[in-house]
Symmetry: C2
Subunit: 193 residues, 2 copies
């Protein structure tokens, strides 16, 4: 079992104190595509059990899956409105698809599918995201059986290597960085905001 990273308690506290806002679980994930940044909102789906890895889900047909295949680095920026604090979390993203060979990861993908709401599941049966909309192509309104994940469904994992925590409440602001060292320990440093 991985030890909880030292930034986990601050992030748990932020999640707890902002729990009345649904969108406090939304964050922005940046990737690199052909030397340009791309950035989109993702929904935090909790941590992998016994680990510091953040879970998200995505559609295999979405642009970010191709981007991550070319360059796995991701930078999550997570702002908590109520407590006025920001976490910047970066690491190498992993996409777990239906063809995943690691059976543990494949199982985690199934668990993530089961945890989705019916509405969220049905989106994976929609036409190809990001493609021009065609009037002839119907959006399925059928409910999707929760048993087996649709092929397009992917689990997206972010194992953090660097975390930057900025607190804007009070003057001056507080800022702390956490870096994962080669020996798997976290180095913590207080920075100027």
């Amino acid at each position: 079992m991985t030890e909880l990273a030292p930034w986990r308690s601050a992030l748990s506290r932020a999640l707890h104190r902002n729990r009345s806002l649904v969108y406090a679980r939304y964050a922005q994930l940046a990737t690199v595509q052909a030397n340009r940044p791309a950035n989109r909102t993702v929904v935090f789906r909790g941590f992998l059990e016994d680990s510091n890895t953040l879970k998200f889900v995505t559609d295999r047909r979405s642009q970010k899956v191709g981007e991550i295949a070319d360059n796995p680095w991701g930078a999550l920026c997570w702002y908590f409105p109520k407590t006025r604090e920001q976490f910047r979390i970066s690491g190498k993203l992993m996409v777990v698809t239906t063809t995943e060979e690691n059976s543990d990861l494949l199982h985690l993908r199934e668990m993530a599918w089961l945890a989705l709401s019916e509405g969220a599941r049905s989106q994976f049966a929609w036409p190809h995201p990001g493609q021009p909309k065609s009037e002839s192509e119907k959006v399925s309104q059928e409910s999707i059986a929760p048993t087996t994940p649709l092929e397009e469904f992917c689990l997206l994992l972010l194992p953090p290597q660097e975390v930057d925590h900025l607190e804007l409440k009070g003057q001056p602001h507080q800022r702390c960085s956490y870096t994962l060292e080669a020996d798997d320990t976290w180095k913590q440093q207080t920075l100027n905001p």
Copy 2:
């Protein structure tokens, strides 16, 4: 005078409908540094007059200023909680510093400084952001005269080249992309969400 881009009305509507939330004016700006993404929250400071260019401010000592010098591409992700919609805006960022040679831009930098609150101005007199915190270095609590911008103060401009608007209210979601063409007109296309 530049014509208002076709996405401007949708963005104005979002700003208006979310105006009760201070943080609806916060968005996440991604850049590229050494082939890795970086991502942070920025505060929208309005549009440049008679243009579609978004204004932000930044500290010359912040990491993003160096990143933008190496690679000007920026990707802003802006989520509006109340109306559940997202704008993704990308273009080449411009940093207007105290050594700017274009007098119009230099004037805009001064105007942006004047528009800041006293608290926001004082942050540009704080110790070097992102550097290890030193106990001996004091954070100035002096109020900063609004007349002349501090050297560290920069105006940050984002002239959009691509805009992607996603509306999550209702099923299915609505998505529309806008691309600036070589002849300075905007091409608009409805996409699958």
